[in-house]
Symmetry: C2
Subunit: 342 residues, 2 copies
DNA sequence: GTGAAAGCGCTAACAT
DNA sequence: ATGTTAGCGCTTTCAC
């Protein structure tokens, strides 16, 4: 059933029906009601492409993920984030288009998005420290918001980020205050902006605590279970192993834990690891020196906010960029077991 | 730059340019070349909405995820799956639309997808045992493929699934053969089809081994870290704790491990847990009784295949349904440590 | 081999 | 308050 059929059926013009359905004021209440009722009855839905062609809007937002290095997608965080964004889109009647862009084809992909007009705005995921995408998007004139930041980008742009620097600074500081001097960092790829910032936070806290950073206690690799395992195992096998560890993701932590298991070490008393869940009660039993970053619901909030931000930018294309910094939660359960002699 | 401008520029009609660009045979080689070259030079891209309106095709596939119970999205597996699907779409020039559908609004959402015409086909995620969506999609006449199955659905339909029954049967059997009699199952929500099948596999293996299933060794809940922790902790606190455990996802396993850590138990010698990674070398060191289900690359393959399946169904709408069963990998490293006396 | 013209289903400017 | 008409940018008959 299309608009023509519906309007013929009602004995009205397409225009009137369209106006009635889209809430234009010049339609009489009685006809609007009649139209709405009939539309509901027959289950009429305007064709999105036709409407888009007429209005020049796609009513869709593109989420663009770099995909060869899987650091982003695999991250459980992505699921929560996208769920939050989806909520916003649902409310605003936008569709969510997911673009998986292989490394190296980025520029082409963005240009394509801009010119084919399948989306009205874009969310940039997984920004690197040096990220050419932001300049490109500026040039293309497509409204966009970045989830994260690109440290070396001078142009102003809208972003939402977690304060990675501060989170890792505080986490490291906490471990240092517990007496640890050999604190390891198992990080993601450090050309990724978030990972870089985390490292900076870690380093600055070490420095503040008068601890000299050791290369053999820092690892940087794609965030997979295997890499977490390798990194942890290698560190434990070297002369002067760490007494505490920070990992940069749940997935790395899983691998790291396995290595600890194999070495006969127990998390509760020997290391600290970052986790990610909403209900923290199970961390508060005093057994863990657990460090916590982003709760699932906060990630979801982030998704929701970012989505709202693009929609705003679409409405007001030349509004000044907005930036949102989210604070990571840092929840700590003190160890009841003996703290390993640092 | 649109078609009209481009053709004016070339001194040709829109028709000819369109034909040249779309590979129609009646265009002379020389003009085709000239057109193509110029199109590339100015970066011409046809407007997707206009083309869609003219052809009646959206060139997009919808992936529909139920979203109130997060079992699907949060699963790291989803990332790999969607990456695989994305690969296929990229090759075939399709877009990927993600629909996050809140529980309860499913029917409306599917009807909307079918009538607004934003997608040409659909991938159904997270099927439940009784899933009304399949009947609905049949009725709507929209090509679709299910990732997973709906056990209680009588109608034929295309699906791709992992053999969950077999995987858990074999895993349980293996543990039983090691001498375990108290094998726990920490499962997802069992109205979800995959979880139900896993439980059936577990139960059948117990029966075959002459082990009476115990309710207190079976848990079923949303797949979150907290739930994994609770389930494991509760089991360990009860009179007759398990000597081996099967968990239904990485996330549950993380929580379960934490509970084990807290109880001073070590994975390597006390339990077995399902994991998920591509590089299994680190499991083969003889320390783990690890049970492994889906490698990341196999999940990616699954995504790729499912995407191909919808595209096929779009091309040949009344082809008989195709079904693909994937075998879960089962990789086991024998424990070198003492096997706990069951 | 190329072009003119109709039309995909809708919205919006312009009547009335 | 309702209708007429002209597009949106493309593909696709149909004519030449």
């Amino acid at each position: 059933m299309n608009l023509k059929q519906l309007s013929d059926h009602l004995g009205l013009s397409q225009t009137t029906v369209s106006r009635a359905l889209n809430g234009y004021p010049e339609v009489s209440e009685s006809t609007r009601e009649r139209v709405q009722l009939e539309a509901d009855r027959v289950g009429y839905r305007p064709n999105a492409r036709a409407r888009g062609l007429a209005t020049g809007r796609a009513q869709a937002i593109g989420h663009v993920l770099p995909v060869s290095a899987q650091h982003e997608m695999v991250n459980p965080v992505f699921g929560d984030f996208i769920a939050g964004a989806g909520e916003t889109y649902l409310k605003s009647n936008y569709d969510l288009q997911l673009s998986l862009v292989p490394d190296g084809e980025e520029e082409a992909a963005y240009r394509r998005l801009a010119t084919t007009g399948t989306v009205d705005g874009i969310i940039v995921h997984g920004p690197r420290m040096d990220d050419p995408r932001i300049g490109l998007l500026h040039e293309l004139g497509l409204p966009f918001v970045v989830h994260g930041r690109a440290s070396n980008e001078a142009l102003p742009y809208s972003w939402l980020d977690v304060d990675n620097y501060r989170a890792f600074h505080r986490a490291t500081q906490f471990l240092a205050e517990l007496g640890h001097r050999k604190i390891a960092l198992i990080n993601g790829l450090e050309f990724m902006d978030f990972a870089h910032r985390r490292r900076q936070g870690y380093l600055s806290a070490l420095e503040a605590a008068g601890i000299t950073p050791r290369d053999d206690l820092m690892s940087s690799a794609e965030m997979t279970e295997v890499n977490g395992h390798h990194a942890m195992r290698d560190m434990l096998n070297r002369p002067d192993p760490p007494t505490a560890v920070l990992t940069s993701s749940l997935i790395l932590a899983i691998g790291a834990r396995r290595a600890l298991d194999e070495a006969g070490l127990q998390l509760a008393r020997d290391v600290s690891i970052i986790t990610h869940d909403d209900d923290l009660s199970y961390l508060r039993n005093g057994q863990d020196e657990a460090i916590f970053t982003a709760t699932r619901s906060s990630v979801r909030d982030a998704g929701r906010i970012v989505a709202e931000m693009v929609l705003e930018r679409i409405d007001v294309p030349d509004a000044p960029p907005r930036t949102v910094m989210m604070e990571a939660e840092l929840i700590i359960g003190r160890s009841t077991g003996p703290c390993p002699t640092p």
